[in-house]
Symmetry: C2
Subunit: 319 residues, 2 copies
Amino acid sequence: MNASQASRTELKSYLKSRRDEVETVLWELLPKPDGMAARLNEAMRYPLEAGGKRIRPLLVLIGADFCRGASQADLYAGRWWPEGEDELRRALLMTACAIEMVHTYSLVHDDLPCMDDDDLRRGRPTSHKVYGEAMAVLSADALHTLGFQILASVPERFAERSYYVARDLAVACGYPGMVAGQVVDLEYEQKQGTEEVLEYIHHHKTAALIRAGLTMGARMMGGAGRDVEILAQAGMKLGLIFQVVDDILDVVGDTAALGKQAGADEKLGKLTYPALIGLDQSKARVNALRDEIFALLEPEGERARVLLDITTELVEREA
Amino acid sequence: MNASQASRTELKSYLKSRRDEVETVLWELLPKPDGMAARLNEAMRYPLEAGGKRIRPLLVLIGADFCRGASQADLYAGRWWPEGEDELRRALLMTACAIEMVHTYSLVHDDLPCMDDDDLRRGRPTSHKVYGEAMAVLSADALHTLGFQILASVPERFAERSYYVARDLAVACGYPGMVAGQVVDLEYEQKQGTEEVLEYIHHHKTAALIRAGLTMGARMMGGAGRDVEILAQAGMKLGLIFQVVDDILDVVGDTAALGKQAGADEKLGKLTYPALIGLDQSKARVNALRDEIFALLEPEGERARVLLDITTELVEREA
């Protein structure tokens, strides 16, 4: 195993541990499947039970760590939190869960018959296949609200920070962001688009929420000004990487590894980078974005190292 | 015209003026129908353009006025705001708009083919009839988020209050409130329910958000403790009145006046008060709730008078 492989293994093990930490809080924040609306609560939990990479919650924690200047060595050695900061830890983990709730709501609605009409998500039948369309719509609506409810329930000491965090989340997932991307994405199915349109879709549909992960973490940590600005810039590029790699994997990837139908984009006539500029140019675009992130973050030194590791990981991911 | 009619006319004119005030801000907060996602923005505006009573935003203002002890005489004479409080005024009007965005999103989703499958709302074709199902789902999602974005954009001085306001809104419209009511409502279509189930549906589906209107206004005014508690109790009862009267009007009302198909509940086999306990008992229930609100609020004197007037109005409404 060479140095780069060793570092990659270390990152993966770090991310897995932090993912576990987030999930403990995630299950606690979701309603238990009992009472009069037990089936609603069950349907809210279902799409989250399939696992997933939890990229957005992880980026919340990574954004916060960047702001407080945590070192890669400390983080990889399991020293994740400053002593005596239990309420701050709670607030950050709740913020991480909030963005995952909102991301998950969007997946459930995207999969509906009137949208992408997907039967499979993360290797399991989609929500409307299991619970029916009405419950899929409503349980996702409930996850959407729950994201904002969680932000409005962090320890009261952080009430003011929560206001800025909620704004980042809302702008990223609402009409100025994700929903606009989804609308234009649907409009351009089976229709010739330009690179400008494709950038618009990717920026709005995916990158805005990835970016929000980093800035929400920063703001809940009390970060502002230049720190948030750097994270916002890096986050947008990272979000584009994430989506272009997704498009590439849809062409070259494997259904089993992806947990969703490979080739789905082509079948739907989606406007994607591989469809528009070809696979090689798409890969070149990913590498260029990675270089831009490195140019932006390397001057930040130690505190940027985990974010750079995760950038490399997202460039090289195969599922 | 007798004294009671005169007072009713005065209330109606007051509500109309304040509705106009809310609407000015409402149109300003909605995105303009231009740019790449112009059609999304247009679809967001569409269900709000049909007008409606704007009960929830009005209750936000009424809850705030209760907290600051505004007199009925001042309010009916057009003295609505304390001098030099432009930012507070702005924050309250934004709060009023936020709840209307969330209420409207829920109507658009309720009308979908997989839910109540309604063609008509406020006398106009429903969103999915005009824009298609995908856009109806997404534009309502965008209104849902916009509600929370607005709360996270009130003047920064009120950031901390906004956190409590957002919590009230989220609890009222999410899994602990409105969505749970909607799920149980759908489950009991064509199925025999008990009065307990019906109370659950009405409390959750309708009353929780009506109550939130009053408490959100109070909290944005800086109210807390006993004031919020009284408003919460009165708001829940007012919400029940609103829904039971809705059920009654669905039986005895007129399609043209209602702006929606009369008799729709019976056709869907909805669990309603008239269906369960008959019209006379339903009306008796409404009157009993009104008496409870009067018993609760009359001791509050002058500051409760507008809320009592609106209670009477909602008991007697015919559309």
